[in-house]
């Protein structure tokens, strides 16, 4: 009997479990179809960035398009596939969901994308990953960075101040002691008998300020100081020739990076298309602006300038802010795509700039400093594998740009 009861109990349990599992499957069917394999997620992340989905979509909030979180719960996977591949076709086919969505977002067209089903699925995997594990604010990292900077070689500045203050105190004490000694000696000599005239003159001599000022030594020292200061100013001034740090010209269109890059978090690469493939980052052409502004804010006088340009056929003449001399070769893709450098490293907090200004001095010294101090982004790049291995054999510090010839003349001048 015991055995029978056990079997029944197990069977009931099994049944209940099955019910639970299957009912769960029905509710979260789509979500669970989205893989959580880290490899697929990273592939999705790559695609998400490559196809610049973030221009119109965020995971957690509405942007130009709807928030993506939970999209796999709301819609059928097959529906998502066909929507991404060609949303207009889906709308045209009379799909009610599609039409409703289209109307909800001011009839903004989502461009068709040439993606495979698995690729779209991997993007969804990435979205799911972001939704389920929201990114931590990166406070710790910057803190580390600052500490590392402070720990550099040499004497910390606070010590320097103390040393200087101590020195000043010591010097003042010496001065006081000297004055006292002079007083004592003078008194002693005045009291002493038998001094000849000359000696008496010396002892009774009064300090004359005008004579002191007119003395050749003082004039000499002052002249030297004036000349030295002037020379320093001239030299410093000469060094700033052509340095346009802070240059913030007025642009023909009051374009705000603060709105586009800051508020809407449009990826820089969406407009600056060349940044990962070539030397120039590219100022966007009007047709890129029109991707959104054919629909958005069409009444703004600034946007009207775009339409005017399009109609007249005359491109917009932006004022160039970052002017490297012709003798220096700089390649954006080397730094952004290969080096993985943030745009902000050189261009400053661009997402907060209403009007763009030149953040960095763009002098050779500034370039060199960075090449000396920046460790290379070699992770997963086969080009560097052997170099890193060789470097690590002889050095305990991470491999800097300098270590692989990043300071050589012909890296930038040819």
């Amino acid at each position: 009997m015991v055995a029978k009861t056990t079997i029944v109990r197990y069977a009931t349990a099994f049944f209940l479990v099955c019910c639970f599992v299957f009912s769960g499957k029905q509710v979260f069917a789509q979500r669970d179809a989205v893989p959580t394999d880290p490899e697929i997620i990273s592939q999705g992340e790559q695609l998400f960035n490559e196809y610049q989905c973030n221009t119109c979509h965020k995971v957690d909030s509405k942007l130009v398009g709807p928030a993506l979180a939970g999209v796999y719960d709301r819609r059928d996977l097959e529906w998502i596939y066909s929507w991404v591949k060609n949303s207009q076709a889906l709308i045209a086919s009379g799909d009610p969901q599609a039409t409703a969505l289209y109307n909800e977002f001011n009839q903004l067209v989502m461009a068709p994308y040439d993606l495979e089903d698995e690729q779209i699925l991997s993007i969804l995997a990435y979205v799911r990953d972001v939704e389920e594990n929201p990114p931590m604010p990166e406070v710790a990292a910057t803190g580390d960075g600052a500490a590392a900077g402070g720990d550099g070689s040499g004497i910390p500045s606070s010590y320097l101040n103390i040393i200087v203050a101590a020195l000043v105190v010591v010097l003042i004490l010496i001065l006081v002691v000297l004055v006292i000694i002079i007083g004592v000696l003078k008194k002693y000599l005045q009291d002493k008998e038998g001094l000849d005239e000359a000696d008496k003159d010396v002892v009774n001599e009064k300090f004359s300020f005008s004579a002191f000022v007119k003395s050749p030594t003082v004039i000499g020292i002052i002249t030297f100081l004036v000349i030295a200061l002037a020379a320093k100013n001239v030299i410093d001034g000469l060094y700033t020739i052509g340095v346009q740090q802070g240059y913030q010209p007025e642009q023909p269109i009051a374009f705000s990076h603060k709105i586009h890059a800051g508020e809407y978090e449009i990826a820089c690469q969406y407009c600056h298309t060349g940044v990962e493939i070539g030397k120039s980052a590219n100022i966007p052409s009007v047709n890129i602006c029109m991707n959104c502004h054919s629909q958005i804010k069409t009444d703004s006088p600034e946007i009207q300038k775009l339409y005017a340009a399009q109609e007249s056929g005359k491109p917009i003449e932006w004022v160039r802010i970052h002017n490297l001399p012709d003798l220096a070769y700089f390649n954006h893709s080397q730094h952004v795509k290969v080096g993985g450098i943030e745009c902000q490293t050189c261009h400053g907090e661009i997402q907060e700039m209403e009007v763009v200004k030149q953040h960095a001095p763009l002098t050779m010294g500034w370039c060199i400093d960075c090449h000396r101090n920046t460790s290379l982004n070699t992770q997963g790049n086969g080009y560097y594998d052997k170099l890193v291995e060789l470097h690590n054999k002889t050095s305990g510090t991470p491999m800097n740009v300098e270590d692989i010839g990043g300071l050589e003349c012909a890296k930038c001048h040819y």
Binding site: Q244, P249, G274, S285, A309, L390, C409
Partner: protein, 1040 residues
Amino acid sequence: MKENQKTYWKGIEQLSNDADFVKKNESEFPEYLPISETGGESSNRRDFLKLMGFGIAAASLAACEAPVRKAIPYLNKPVDVDPSVPNYYASTYVNGGDAVSVVVKTREGRPIKVEGNKYSSITKGGSSAQVEASVLSLYDKERLVGPMKDGAETDWATLDKEVTSQLNKIAAQAQGSGIRIVSNTVLSPTTKKAVGEFIAKYPTAEHITYDPISSYGITEGNRRSFGAAMIPSYDFSKVKTVVSVGADFLGTWISPIEFSKQFAQTRKINEHHREMSRHYQFESNLSLTGSNADYRTPILPSQVGPLVAAMYNAIAAKAGQAKVSGGNAGDVAHLTAAANELWANRGKSLVVCGSNDPAVQVLINGINTMLGNYGTTIDTTAPVNYRQGDDMAMSNFVKDLNSGRVAAVIFLNCNPLYNSAEASALTAALAKASLTVSTSDRMDETAAAVKYVAPDHHYLEQWNDAELREGHLSLSQPSIAPLFSTRQTPESFLKWAGQTVEYYTYLQNNWKESYFTQQSEISSFQTFWDKALYDGIVELGGSEKAFTYDFAAASVAATSIGQNYKTQGSGLQLALYQKSGMGDGSQANNPWLQEMSDPISKATWDNYLTISLAMANELGIKMTEGETQLVNLMVGDQSIEVPVLVQPGQAPGTVGLAVGYGRTKAGKVGNGVGVNAYPFITKLNGANTMDVLAGVSVTTTGKAYRIAQTQTHQTYMGRENVIQEATLDEYKKDAGAGRWHPHIYKEGEFVKPSKITLWSGHEYNNHHWAMTIDMNSCTGCSACTVACQAENNIPVVGKEEVLNRREMAWIRIDRYYSAANPAGNKKELEEAAANPEVTFQPMMCQHCNNAPCETVCPVAATTHSTEGLNQMTYNRCIGTRYCANNCPYKVRRFNWFKYHDNTQFDKNLSMNNDLGKMVLNPDVTVRARGVMEKCSMCVQRIQSGKLAAKREGRRPVDGEINMACESACPSDAITFGDLNDPKSKISQLLQIEEKKEGEKATERVVNEERAYHVLEELNVNPNIWYMTKIRNKVKESTEA
């Protein structure tokens, strides 16, 4: 290893140890110093202070406000164009009867470089100086900007209306209604079709084809021999013995790039393959091909016929064929040996001849037939389409024109008033035609004489095709929109024929009908077309045609030879020739070609009468450092004043003169350079011949002249063993034959130079870039020098500055003459210069690992990289020129002047007007005055190749990064690569041992025995390796 006992010299002045030459080469800078632009006194202290004051004031003023610069993006960015990212388009270089499949590099929509197309089975990626330079011709300001009527601008509608109405009127006439279309060989089948439509509309029209450098003798010779007027294709890659009678097949004959590629394959040797072809050359002028021959025999032009007949007889005797008559060639050195060897290598040999006499070509065909070369080294199933001009038709046309039978003449992209044998007759007769039209791209000699000019696009602006050989098609696609209001010539013809179809559509339709149907691999025409455009070429295969040689023609030809060639005459003979740079002169306005130093004479900006040293001595002319005299050259009743150039190897009793010069209406650059030799072309057996056998005389004028030669510039001060060479027999025994291993005396013993060093050496962990140059393959053609000029924005300095030894070329080709005998007195000198051996050595910055230039620079403007490059930083250079002084290879060039935006250098087209500047490579700085420059090892290409690899997260693949010179080389003599990559071609060529950890560049072990460093004794340890020159000749007994 015994030291090489030969004497090497670069010019007669060096051989004779001329006092002036020695003096100039002893001084640090042979140039006159200092430069005084005003010609007045040198500057003094006050001037210095004034200048300094002004400089400071100017600098502070300039600093007040930086100019506002604009960044102007596209309005609508084309999908394919990304600023700063180059695009490449396959296309076809077409110039007269020549065509080469090319790849055009464009930046922001501007073509900036032309290279050979590697997909072409004909040229296999090779190019030539003319092809490389052609991109500059696109931006020539002398091109017409629109149609012209009577020398004034007009519009296309007017021109079309007037031309069509006049054509209709002429066609309707009863008398004198002939319409003639005159052109060079047209290689485009679709253009021919368009011309055909025109002829169909106007039935009295005829198409006359001529070529400035005629091959009519070959087509006519083949018609007589086989019954088919054609030029077969040749395959030099299969030859063991090649005999050339005056054919400059590596330089100018038929298809030199193709032949160089093929022939180089037979000259590549290594330890495992110690065999190479043997090459005999019989010629009058020392040609590029002759200078590369194993055996060269100078002959008179009048010996060509009898010599070929004698060779025919020698082969016929072995083949059991009947002998022919054909005059007496006399005793010609190496003729018997050549005949014997040809016979021994039957089916693997080739006899070619540059003569344009059909009779001679008939015998040449006979020789090749008897040798069984048809089907192996000569292919008649795929005849080539180059140079199909018909000299007879051209002379008949001029006669017809003169007799009033022709009312309309249309010159289709040709310039017969300059470059045809009938130029003067044509000029006189042209007035008799009521309608004259030219489609020249500029107001050239012909365009200036006609009523209407309908200028054609440059080849880089047009859609077209070319059938290089039967079944071998090459497409042209525009790589830039037309710069001017020009129109494609076939479209003009279609328009005049009453058709309104656009040429692009017409071309596609023709391809759909004619070629798409000939293949079955691709089913959609669009796919077929896209692939053809991407590849640039389509190969459909030739037809199977069998020909039988008509031996009866041989005896007829021999009789003709017997009558026409009289070798006994003692008169002077003139041999006209083409330079491999200037060619027929159609690109005379291209300063890159004008300043390219001729491979043989090393002269720039001129043509000249080449004479032998013996003759110079006879005339009492002494030539040093380009200083020479003008002479009066009389040919028949025409006379011309021309400078002479003493040319070693010139056959006694002959003088040579290059065509392609003496242009009057080419443009600012080409006008008035040299003299026009086309009027001296004569007729023989109905064909134009470049040889003048009689009636030539030369008289001195006593007028001094200077030819801008670069040959003795940048010399090595008599240091020996720069050239290391051996014969094939020696090489077979010892792979290190000809190598010289210097040893330096140190503390009682002789040690290798690398054992004594001041330098601590570099270790290259990342890349170790290096280059090898195979002197056995290098033909000296100079395509590399022009490629380098285009790639690296090298200025043209002009004749005056070349005379001042200030040419800027980063890569030069040193041409050394050598002879076994010493040159003590005048007689010995003449003997040594009679027929010297020639060696070419491309010389550029050697990127020394122990670089002497780096140690002397006071401002560290030239430094060493961690990848083996010697870097030159222009913005740091202050122009002390210490580096140039300390460079043992003399490869550094100083910017004596500002060559850009300077009206004094207005011949430097690429830097002195807005149009010309479009050719500049945006990745390379245009250098300022006062800085040093030199070969950078195309560092911009290395950097972009590395970056492409980094972006994809991998190491660069061997062959991905190419040097400009390397990719231009038609004989694959230059190999560039990474010595740290054991799989790279260069590592394998040098058999370099894999780099051990911590091993320095100077310690790397190279096992290839042919590889050597020039001036190894200095231990500067270059990264450029040379491979010994191996000659396939039997060493003469005098040197035992």
